[in-house]
Amino acid sequence: MAIASEKINTREKANAKEYPLNAMGIVAPLVGWLVPGAGHLIQKKWVRGLLLMISVFSMFFFGLMMQGKVYTPNTGDVLEMLGFVGDIGSGGLYMLSRIMDWGQGAINIAAADYGTKFIIVAGLLNIIAAVDAHQIAIGKKS
């Protein structure tokens, strides 16, 4: 019994060493998801945070200016649901666009399809940025 609990303790210690999860490791990706780039900014990675923020914000707003569509959940269409998954990656920007009713109009130019992709990719890039903020917070990346 004692040997078994000792083994479990050793395994837990090894896991903690390999994956040192801390409070910042949880907060940084969440903040980074809500406000693109903020996950890096709260860790004082100013330049990286600003560049990520500018990139994601620009892609999202260029997408909206190109009359791209912002997907809504539960439309019943699988492709639209996948679009929603991409869009929700933008966090606060997605919420803002839903509140302001942006990206809901009828598409009447061909370039609007590019805009829709810009909005989705902005969300996906923001998820990558949030994961990067997590990696920095737990010390896996400098």
């Binding site: 990139s55 892609m59 200016m65 302001m100 942006w102 990206g103 990558i128």
Partner: protein, 52 residues
């Protein structure tokens, strides 16, 4: 949104590649020099892929 932008395929591809390569450069590599080099590489690759 009231501002309307109509871009050509090439301009849209350039913008897409520019912003995406900034994020890829920062997130996929360590060290400023490596990040910059990877960002430039991504920009070139994405433009090659998207321009046709």
């Amino acid at each position: 949104m009231n501002i309307h932008l109509q871009l050509s395929h090439f301009t849209a591809a350039l913008l897409f590649a520019f912003f995406a390569s900034i994020v890829f450069g920062i997130t996929q590599k360590e060290g400023v020099r490596e990040q910059f080099r990877y960002g430039v590489k991504c920009f070139v690759w994405l433009n090659e892929a998207l321009k046709d």
